[in-house]
Amino acid sequence: MSLPAHLTAPVLWTVAAVVAALALATALAAWRRARDPEGARELWLRVRSWWVMVAVFAVAVLLGPRASIVFLAFVSYLALKEYLSLIPTRRADRRVLFWAYLAIPVQYWWVADAWYGMFVIFIPVYMFLLLPARMVLAGETRGFLRAAGTLHWGLMSTVFALSHAAYLLALPPEGNPVGGRAGLLLYLVLLTELNDVAQYVWGRLLGRRPVVPRVSPRKTVEGLAGGVATTVALAVLLAPWLTPLAPLEALGAGLLIGLGGFAGDVTLSAVKRDIGVKDSGTLIPGHGGVLDRVDSLTYSAPLFFHYVVYLHY
């Protein structure tokens, strides 16, 4: 049987392994739930949501690069919408926000077109200049700087940073003969999400000393160290199948994803604490909002992207 050009055997095996791992987690959650229905409610919801997220992401990846890019653009849309609904915005800027949304299709167009130059400057330069100029037309100067700053921060995190995950699909396929185009994306997303889970689990098992007590009191040194170690181990293990990275390079990738993911997580925690909410939304039962799920990716995606491009493209 020959596979479509965008898929490789390692990608399919990885998806199968994720499904198997999730089935195992579901069995574990079901067992805990049978003994303590109330206590395991959150865990059960979380596992159920993982099934939905894995299914949607897997279908997008299997359908090919176009579908994956559209899917990631939609994730950016949900994340930006959640962010703009969370932060205090000014009435005068209602139409400015519409322009900010328009940046999403444009940014992902550069990705689909593999136009690297535009991809990498469109939001940091052009949107950065355009939106404040459009805000001037609205004429409201009270809170101008805060509005311009918060809007740009949101665009950079939810659109610019996340779109780096999509650009992995636009890299020339010769660069990754074993894993193929989808290999790098799968590697990044899988390790980032597993890193979140591993940090949580290690923290629950051994966590004693908080890392950033004022921002996120439940994040501990032990959770961070255990999570990063787990991520590094998996990064080295999976690299030969999904990426062109040599073992030592994969170790570096694991560190970047582990530490970057942590930074993304606590940065959003700081934003939520500033605004005074616990979760960014209620879209994903057991997880919170979309931002709560992709916060780590906003850091790990650009870091991993530039690391791989520097080493192999």
Partner: protein
């Protein structure tokens, strides 16, 4: 019931309504906007009942009706101003047949009872959507309630009035704007209230419950 507003022939056309909600309203409300619903289990499943909501946007009715399954839609009836929604033939057709509105005459009632249509709907066991602020008004601000809601409660003391607070719709599509800007919308459903013996006390109790729901959401002012 010989009211001019509520003969069965004027009610929603089930197929047109189901198609419009399945193909336009649901994608708009659930995907383009997105809802955070708190207290969904408190929504009345069957009538007679009244949903009392704040009103800042045309989206409010679409959002509230999206909380109900397609089959139940024809029994969920928004009470809407006849002078606005029946002003042209096409709009009137859409308002009556697709949205299933129960028209009320705003302002001076010329001998006719403005609540007759709403009362007939309650008598048929339907769920009314009522905006006691009377108009969409200032975006994301709660205005004082008008008297109709209390008069309706007085005449139907057994009917539950469910307060529902909507936040976000007034940002996404405020009065006078044609451009929709996506925002997640919050819907907070409160405990129902029944007639308590006095129009003024009933209105004030409803207003208080609405303010409590708004405070529960803790939404920053939109300025």
């Amino acid at each position: 019931m010989s009211s001019t507003c509520t003969t069965e022939a004027d009610g929603p056309a089930p197929l047109a309504q189901a198609l419009f909600f399945a193909l336009v309203v649901r994608p708009l409300v659930l995907v383009v906007l997105g809802l955070n619903v708190r207290g969904r289990e408190r929504l009345p499943r069957r009538g007679p009942a009244v949903l009392v909501a704040n009103h800042n946007s045309h989206l409010d009715t679409l959002i509230l009706m999206s909380l109900y399954p397609l089959r139940a839609l024809r029994r969920v009836r928004p009470v809407a101003a006849a002078d606005y929604f029946l002003r042209t033939r096409w709009l009137a057709w859409f308002a009556r047949r697709v949205m299933g509105i129960v028209p009320v005459a705003r302002g001076a009632a010329r001998g006719a009872d403005p609540l007759a249509g709403a009362e007939a709907a309650l008598a048929r066991g339907e769920i009314l959507i009522l905006y006691p602020e009377g108009t969409r008004g200032e975006p994301e601000r709660l205005a004082r309630f008008k008297g109709g809601v209390a008069r309706l409660a007085e005449r139907h003391p057994q009917v539950p009035f469910h307060p529902v607070y909507i936040h976000g719709a007034g940002k996404a599509l405020p009065k006078g704007e044609a451009l929709l800007v996506p925002f997640f919308c919050d819907v907070l459903v409160g405990e129902p209230l029944r007639w308590n013996g006095s129009r003024r006390a009933f209105r004030e109790a409803l207003e208080a419950r609405m303010r409590a729901l708004a405070a529960e959401g803790g939404f920053p002012p939109w300025e």
